[in-house]
């Protein structure tokens, strides 16, 4: 495994701190820079930037406008790879939209859709595509295979890279009553290009833990270290927090602790 880059998400409200920060190799971009963002020119000049925007859900083909936007952002950031999620968060007719990552059914039909639409996107991009796993809070009985099997078949069919979100694996294991290590072992780690790590907190609605803009726990960092050692192609680890409530102290401390854990 080559040396891993360690970075975070660009949070525009922390632009001043990020321009001055030490020890951050890259920033993932969840949104395009706002025209009023005075820190953007320095951020762009200083950091390796990873395109991690919402480009579209690959249960449907991306239209020309979405692909043009993806290409434009990829060029703006000079990103080494383009990330999307295994998500299907709005209905086909657009009437309902959860506005939050939500996984597809793990079925043959959805696998065929994602493979075809990812391949079409890959053909239009100048950078490799990586795809991020999304946690399910509940199982849908219509699914036909376990998520890790579905993901493995996707990566083998497309050659896309795997953006392994570790807290997502950790949460799924928690809600399935499994150990995180046991659940992680099912995933196709040989395809991992980037890892995400984040904090989790108790959520009142879920009555259990969920992703939160807080520091990763020691246990999560230990999980990261173990996972990273099993991902021979991994190139980057990103602190996955993007929220107006995130503080510079949490972001900077998290990146330091991630680096120390690896």
């Amino acid at each position: 495994m080559s040396r891993l880059m360690v970075g975070a998400f660009y949070n525009p409200h922390l632009g001043a701190e990020l321009v001055r920060a030490e020890g951050i190799d890259h920033l993932a971009m969840a949104d395009p820079p706002a025209p009023s963002d005075t820190h953007w020119p320095a951020i762009k000049q200083r950091y390796t930037l990873l395109l991690h925007d919402y480009l579209g859900q690959l249960s449907e083909p991306l239209d020309d406008r979405a692909i043009a936007r993806a290409r434009s952002l990829a060029a703006l950031y000079d990103t080494p790879w383009v990330a999307e999620h295994f998500q299907c968060l709005h209905t086909e007719d657009g009437t309902y939209n959860l506005n939050y990552v939500f996984p597809p059914l793990y079925t043959e039909e959805f696998l065929a859709r994602f493979v075809a639409n990812a391949a079409a996107l890959q053909a239009r991009l100048d950078q490799p595509l990586v795809m991020e796993n999304i946690p399910g809070f509940f199982d849908v009985k219509a699914s036909q295979m376990p998520e890790p099997v579905w993901l493995r078949r996707f990566f083998e069919a497309t050659g896309a890279g795997f953006l392994l979100d570790l807290p997502h694996v950790w949460l799924e294991a928690h809600y399935r009553g499994l150990s995180p290590d046991t659940w992680l072992a099912e995933f196709p780690l040989e395809h991992v290009v980037e890892l995400h790590v984040a904090g989790v907190e108790q959520d009142g609605d879920l009555r259990g833990p969920w992703i939160a803009p807080t520091e990763p726990s020691d246990a999560m960092l230990e999980f990261l270290a173990q996972a990273a050692s099993r991902c021979p192609r991994a190139r980057a680890v990103t602190f996955d927090a993007f929220s107006p409530s995130l503080t510079a102290e949490v972001l900077l401390a998290s990146v330091d602790r991630i680096r120390a854990a690896l």
Binding site: T95, N97, Y100, F137, F138, D139, D205, W210
Partner: protein, 248 residues
């Protein structure tokens, strides 16, 4: 039923509380109902957090004076009371949630003379953004029609002057000129909310374009020359306030 259609049912169940409680959903037994309900409540709070932070950003900037962060309503009982009827993205739910924010922030008293105008503006932005995405085309017919949800706001203060200043560093609350301003708030074909100053021509066209009047009728009713009407319609179409009805 295709797998894609099943996925749509699950998405609808998470977004649409009355559907989630219906026999049409429950009878399918697709997922553990308790977990679906818990996740749906989580999603609703997230959904409206994002919108409140975005659309009420000026009131957020004033929170250090008012002491009221708009998103605080998401942890109040009144928001929980909305959840059994909430439809994420629905205009009625957006109106109800925005109304909670306005009441909560307004209770603190005016941080500035224009604060009531500001709250009306922010509320309008949030409500206009909601509603069904039924058409992505500006249309090709001959009868212009104001798009449902488009709003004309008549304000006592010239808010566009002060809005950018509120988001910059300030020590004294920025002032807005006290002069009447009319703003058009519309949602573009791509879902973005656009705001434009509305002159008399714009206001007339928005109020009169009902999808039945021809361009000649509309020009006559609005008191505009054909070239003026064409220019106005082009601007209104671009921001999503007007589309051309294809007729019945």
């Amino acid at each position: 039923m295709s797998d894609r259609a099943v996925q749509d049912l699950v998405i609808r169940a998470l977004a649409d509380a009355p559907f989630r409680d219906s026999a049409a959903w429950r009878g399918r037994g697709l997922a553990d109902q308790d977990r679906v309900e818990r996740f749906a409540r989580f999603l609703a709070r997230h959904f409206y957090f994002e919108r409140i932070v975005h659309f009420f950003k000026y009131s957020r900037a004033l929170a250090r004076v008012t002491g009221r962060h708009p998103e605080a309503i998401l942890r109040r009982p009144a928001f929980d009371a909305l959840l059994p009827t909430a439809v994420l993205g629905g205009r009625e739910t957006a109106r109800a949630v925005a109304g909670l924010v306005v009441d909560y922030v307004r209770e603190a008293g005016g941080a500035a003379p224009y604060h009531d105008d500001l709250l009306r503006y922010e509320e309008a932005m949030m409500v206009v953004e909601a509603g069904p995405r039924t058409s992505t085309s500006p249309g090709t017919g001959a009868a212009p029609q104001t798009v449902a949800g488009t709003l004309l706001l008549e304000l006592d203060y010239d808010l566009p002057v002060v809005l950018p200043k509120l988001l910059q560093p300030w020590t004294q609350v920025p002032e807005a000129p006290r002069r009447a301003a009319k703003l058009l708030v519309a949602r573009s074909r791509h879902g973005r909310v656009a705001v434009a100053r509305a002159d008399q021509a714009v206001a007339a066209v928005v109020q009169l374009a009902d999808g039945t009047k021809t361009l000649d009728d509309l020009a006559h009713a609005a008191g505009l020359r054909p070239a003026e009407l064409a220019a106005t319609l082009q601007d209104l179409t671009e921001i999503g306030a007007v589309r051309f009805s294809t007729g019945s």
